[in-house]
Subunit: 319 residues, 2 copies
């Protein structure tokens, strides 16, 4: 297994990125190999600072970096020698089994669309987020912000993607899938969610439990909560702000502390042909380590193959 | 001043409703009169239990109640003798200066549309929510759930309504108005918010500060945050769930405790021709008391007249 790792991605790269990769290295099996993609000189110096030899990792030297604020499509097209462009090139050639980066999220999305491409039948690949629950379980939200303005059939596909991830990567048996809305009754919502509810209800492919509400991210009503990316992004940032206000106010609580993004590291782009893991821009070493573990878990679960198989037989929903 | 008060609205009516009204009574001026609308026998018995005489309040006896789960339009049309229907009838005849209820929110909306009617030029009246900030200030969110599927010109009108409420009822000088989106740049968002951003930017009527994000409900970036009702409702319920999980986990903190809805009581329906205050279904005495104070403040601010005046001269935005 070869996990491509963008050394240059994130606000605290390469220092925290390398530190996290080294933490992961100590826990990975010998055939689980991390491939550093970025400035080799910088990366190697940091590896040696941590007392490791050069042969602990593979190195792919790159000369450009895509900045956090750059226009994704332009940057991917113009910076052919960036760590993100090179990473996707290697992933597409199957020289990597996964590609991991905490860099420009838009560029990661665009890069995955251009290189490994969406799985046939997937209208829009999606980014997920994991939300811990007070009872110790974990919930999956999608879409986390990649896709605003979704049509009902896209929400239906998000439900399929989220169900497959919850089942195969998170190990949840018969995951309960809920549709985010503003009332429990199926006639409550907006035009898109009301229509999506009908499709989901008729699909019969998985355990669709109906509408859930804003309060159910922290309840144990659903394992997977489906929404379009605008509201998903708003609600995630709202939860994040609660966490930071609590920290600032000196409140310490085991559950709320577990909301810290760094515990989950990264999240896969669901619906593209190879494992791609996106991390938070502010990732620290712990987050980078967990991103690498996410990549390993997605590879081991064979999620991409499972999604490909599922979408081969997916009957297009009628509205 | 005569404040119509639905004795039968809310999960804990009439007991908590009357208890709250009595708390308010002790703080109101002698010319600020509460008019109880509901089952007179029940209301009077509770008033006497609290050691007050009948003449402390006015009573309008009604024989029907609109349940929390009833279909709003049907209920308003069929239950002519319900406290909500009678309350709106008196408000429309100007026998009341405001109408307050913690009953069926949909029926309150429909009732206000049928009776006092939207102010000329207002496309969709809106419900607001007040969110306290860690620095002690208060933010206003609208729409809080009355209006899903808003067009850009509706979001623009919400901005105008929210600005007028922040300025005239909340006493915020030159309120900063932000548009909820998923990125600070004006090209970030969904089709509706991107278009609304252009209108707001060109309107020049108030201090539009551009896009804000999910994290800014708890920051002090904007005084008013404008969004359509779907995302507004989801995010409010998410915050509410955080509050309840904190209580359940025994976390006590002055700021997060202030998030308790009961401190704010009710919120006006903005854009109808008379003050209408909606309370939370789970209202307790303290919440009912604060609902009555909200009604008094809206009456005193002359908000409805100010909105009417503003919309007379409102240039329809071009998209």
């Amino acid at each position: 297994m070869r996990i491509g790792f963008d050394v240059m991605g994130g606000d605290f790269a390469p220092k925290e990125a390398i530190a996290g990769a080294i933490q992961a290295y100590h826990e990975l099996k010998s055939d689980e190999r991390i491939v550093f993609i970025g400035d080799k000189e910088q990366a190697l110096a940091l590896v040696k600072e941590h007392g490791l030899a050069e042969d602990a990792f593979d190195f792919v030297h790159t000369t450009e970096v895509i900045g956090m604020g750059e226009h994704p499509t332009k940057a991917i097209q113009q910076k052919r020698n960036s760590s993100i462009s090179i990473g996707f090139g290697l992933l597409a050639k199957k020289e990597l089994d996964a590609f991991v980066s905490a860099g420009n999220t838009g560029a990661m999305l665009v890069g995955s669309m251009f290189s490994v491409k969406p799985i046939e039948g997937v209208i829009r690949p999606s980014i997920t987020a994991i939300i811990p629950k007070p009872n110790g379980k974990f919930g999956l939200l999608l879409d986390a912000g990649a896709n605003a303005d979704c049509k009902p059939d896209v929400l239906y596909q998000f439900a399929v993607l989220g169900y497959l991830m919850a089942k195969n990567v998170m190990g949840i048996e018969n995951p309960r899938v809920g549709l985010l809305s503003i009332g429990e009754e199926k006639e409550k919502g907006n035009l898109v969610t009301i229509s999506a509810h009908h499709i989901l209800e008729e699909s019969n492919q998985f355990n669709f439990i109906g509408n859930v509400e804003g309060r159910d991210f922290l309840s144990d009503k659903a394992d997977v909560i489906v929404c379009e990316g605008f509201v998903g992004n708003v609600v995630l940032k709202a939860f994040e702000s609660v966490y930071y206000v609590m920290k600032k106010r000196g409140i310490s609580d085991e559950y709320f502390d577990s909301m810290n993004y760094e515990n989950y590291g990264g999240t896969p782009i669901l619906g593209v042909n190879a494992p791609v893991i996106i991390g938070h821009g502010i990732s620290n070493a712990k987050a980078f380590k967990n991103m690498i573990f996410s990549a390993r878990d997605v590879i081991n679960s064979k999620l991409c193959e499972i999604i490909r198989e599922e979408f081969k037989n997916l009957v297009p929903p009628t509205q």
